[in-house]
């Protein structure tokens, strides 16, 4: 018993103060891309050619839903027109909001008043991995550790869809998971939310157009929140959840 207490003393209190303060992300973290067309040479397509997720199209338009945040485009670009910022805030409410051209990213707005009254102080989610590689899953799981302590926001992952207010889906939705995902969704009582986490769940990601997958959650279900990234940083997911609930 004494040793347990000593260990507790040594480990200390480690829960982050987010969202009051935000811990510094590593300098090489690749968050929201910054586009600067001014230096693009006409007809140059080096970034598009390098992009493994086909997230870029002509005129330096980027679909964050397909972006793997791998940095290949920035490496390929001779003029420094693409760079990745430290900004981890990436979640949006509509799929088309993930396409960046000349616009600033339209971050997720809150649910309507009625939904917020229902979910704002207590949101229970059932997580379904549908072809996910266990990275999005792991960084979702991390929200329940002492560092993020998801419970303090009234958000909790639950074991049964019957106890849940919605689904948090990861993976490109493999064909072999379609039926299980539909059944899980059907088992959640109305009203319900769907949250797509990671490039795969948003668009199919690197697996897009494989015959074995269905290109993401919204091909099957109505999605209320999109969190891009491969995988998204835990803060990106948490930021999205709190925005949805109108907490930030």
């Amino acid at each position: 018993m004494l040793k347990v207490l000593l260990a507790a003393l040594q480990q200390g209190y480690r829960t982050s103060t987010y969202p009051k303060t935000v811990s510094v992300l590593p300098d090489r973290f690749r968050g929201l891309p910054v586009l600067d067309r001014a230096h693009c040479s006409p007809g140059c397509s080096l970034c598009m050619d390098a992009c493994p997720g086909d997230a870029l199209c002509a005129g330096l338009k980027i679909d964050l839903g397909r972006c793997l945040f791998c940095g290949s485009c920035a490496h390929a670009c001779p003029s420094g027109s693409i760079s990745f910022s430290q900004d981890y805030r990436l979640a949006v409410r509509k799929r088309e909001d993930l396409v960046l051209e000349n616009n600033a990213l339209k971050l997720a707005g809150a649910l309507d008043k009625k939904s917020r009254a229902l979910f704002g102080r207590s949101l229970k989610l059932r997580q379904v991995s549908a072809g996910g590689c266990n990275a999005c899953e792991a960084d979702t799981n991390v929200l329940s550790t002492v560092v993020y302590d998801l419970g303090r926001f009234g958000i909790q992952f639950v074991a049964s869809p019957r106890h849940a207010d919605g689904l948090l889906i990861t993976g490109p939705v493999s064909r072999n998971m379609v039926s299980a995902l539909k059944k899980t969704y059907d088992a959640v009582a109305w009203p319900k939310l769907v949250i797509a986490v990671g490039a795969c769940a948003v668009s199919g990601g690197i697996y897009r157009d494989h015959p074995e997958v269905t290109n993401g959650a919204d091909q099957l279900l109505p999605v209320d929140l999109y969190v891009p990234g491969c995988p998204p940083h835990p803060l990106s997911i948490l930021d999205g959840l709190l925005r949805l609930l109108g907490r930030i």
């Binding site: 072809g131 590689c133 792991a138 329940s144």
Partner: protein, 518 residues
């Protein structure tokens, strides 16, 4: 040591494909059985259409019946790999009855190419996908479109026997898979594990590569093993190109691989504590796992090591400041994880649940061909870093950590031993990082070649086999994740256990669903 007829090669070595011995089915069978009978393991055993080896026909429209079977055998004690091949049309006598570790490989062959291993005791779908060539199998039976999870499950009848079905969707944040238990009261007589829910078609998508997507398939085929699989791929590519990554890049890959191991082993120890309700270690390790992931992010920006490893080297280097920050963080995490994990071994309530639960005897583990911590927990001395060292591990050896009891305790304790050794390895490497470049020039695979690349991922041996066509593109890229070897180990470990111990046993193996399903 190995059977005649097979050619010996080293880890991360490429040979011209024509040098891979092509023998009669009978000689092939005798060679494999002889080698396995004398202590070899099957690292990879797969089929590829003979016509794609002779012509350059794309595999996607291939309706080949003539399939070249290739088998890579690992001779751990000698540190040598042996490879041989044969051509099969339709049927051949199954190896599995005489060699249980061939079991899943032969099911895979049947599912992918319709080759019938006659006498296979359990010829069921593995990933529930369509055949790669065409509908019918080697004995002329049409294969219906496979419906996921619909198969002939093993079933026990009798008074008070009952069946428990779990999954594909599980209670936690975890990948999908289906588990079918045959129980008598609380006792599990048999567990059948049926996967395939995560199948994304990675191997077919890799043929025709390498291209800009190839590396990202590697990084996400089992996302918690990004460094392991990306390194295996990079090694295979470098071998095919006849090059080698610069020493500094090799050291950085080694550091990242051991950080990946440290993060996952810490997470597993915490999750094991969580499964038996021992919250101090569960809480601390959940957090410390994140500290290790953040160290990988300090190096390359991604907590999972995305974008770090690339054929030819690594894409991110250490500067002096980064080195010293990593060292500080590592030393702090070392203190934290030591205090958190040592609580386990001193708590009688923990030890009572860990010891004698889910024990897998050494001979069973050997027969099934287990790899990684699960094998070492059953006393088997096998570790790619030691037996087939490549990269930095040729110069800096990490002792193999084993324990003999094969139970949940052993699988937990081996993780703890490995974790400590990984941390001292990283600290040592940070002190003496070689100077120089981190990247060679472009890596272009040679045509008509084969390379085998092994890496000890945190779950065990990762095996990649690449075969190139006349232009140096992949005519075949075979991936064997450690989980492919180990899932049956979990099923057997559950026999005669209480069903309530399943979560604990499952966590003690902590296998990958997507790494198996590909």
């Amino acid at each position: 040591m190995t059977a005649h007829n097979f050619i010996l090669l080293d880890n991360a070595e490429a040979i011209a494909f024509e040098r891979v011995p092509l023998v009669s089915p009978d000689a092939f069978r005798r060679a494999v059985l002889y080698a396995v009978g004398n202590g070899a393991r099957i690292s990879a055993f797969f089929g590829t259409p003979e016509e794609s080896l002779v012509s350059n026909a794309s595999r996607k429209d291939c309706s080949a019946r003539r399939i070249r079977l290739c088998c890579v055998l690992a001779h751990d004690a000698q540190g040598k790999l042996a490879i041989g091949s044969t051509v099969i049309e339709d049927v051949y006598p199954a190896l599995t009855p005489d060699c249980p570790q061939a079991h899943l490989f032969e099911r895979e062959l049947y599912e992918q190419w319709g080759i019938v291993p006659e006498g296979h005791p359990w010829l069921k779908p593995l990933r529930f996908h369509k055949r790669y060539n065409n509908g019918h199998d080697g004995s002329g039976h049409d294969a219906p479109d496979p419906a996921i999870g619909v198969t002939d499950f093993f079933h026990i009848d009798g008074a008070e026997m009952h069946e428990v079905a779990v999954g594909p969707v599980h209670a936690g944040i975890i990948e999908p898979g289906h588990f079918r238990f045959q129980c008598h009261g609380e006792d599990v007589y048999h567990l059948e594990i049926s996967l395939g829910y995560q199948h994304r078609g990675i191997e077919p998508a890799l043929t025709g590569g390498p291209n800009k997507r190839s590396l990202h398939y590697m990084e996400t085929l089992a996302g918690d093993t990004t460094i392991g699989h990306a390194t295996a791929y990079a090694q295979a590519m470098e071998a095919l190109a006849g090059g080698i990554a610069p020493p500094r890049a090799q050291a950085i890959r080694g550091i990242a691989l051991e950080l990946e191991r440290a993060a996952n082993h810490t997470g597993d120890l915490g999750a094991l504590a969580g499964d038996i309700g021992y919250l101090p270690t569960a809480s601390y390790c959940g957090r410390i796992r994140g500290d290790f992931l953040n160290m990988t992010a300090l190096l390359c920006g991604s907590r999972f090591g995305r974008g770090l490893v690339s054929p030819g080297g690594v894409l991110y280097d250490f500067d002096t400041e980064r080195l010293s920050r990593l060292k500080d963080k590592l030393q702090q995490a070392q203190k934290d994880v030591t205090s958190a994990v040592n609580l386990l071994w001193e708590a009688p309530s923990v030890m009572a649940r860990f010891e004698h639960t889910g024990a897998l005897p050494p001979d069973t583990a050997e027969e099934l061909g287990l790899v990684g911590p699960a094998a070492r927990a059953s006393g088997l001395v096998r570790d790619v870093r030691y037996d087939f060292p490549s990269g930095i591990f040729r110069f800096a050896q990490i002792p193999v950590s084993t324990w003999g009891t094969g139970d949940v305790f052993a699988r937990a304790y081996v993780r703890w031993l490995e974790l400590q050794r990984s941390l001292s390895f990283i600290l040592g490497q940070l002190e003496m990082l070689p100077a120089g470049d981190i990247m060679t020039g472009p890596v272009t695979p040679a045509p008509k070649s084969l390379a085998v690349s092994l890496v000890e991922g945190w779950r065990g041996e990762i095996c990649h086999v690449a075969i190139t066509d006349g232009q140096g593109g992949f005519s075949e890229y075979k991936i064997v994740d450690p989980s492919f070897h180990n899932w049956l180990g979990l099923a057997i470990a559950m026999r005669d256990q209480q069903i309530s111990d399943f979560p604990l046993c499952n966590k003690s193996f902590n296998l990958s669903y997507c790494g198996h399903d590909l």
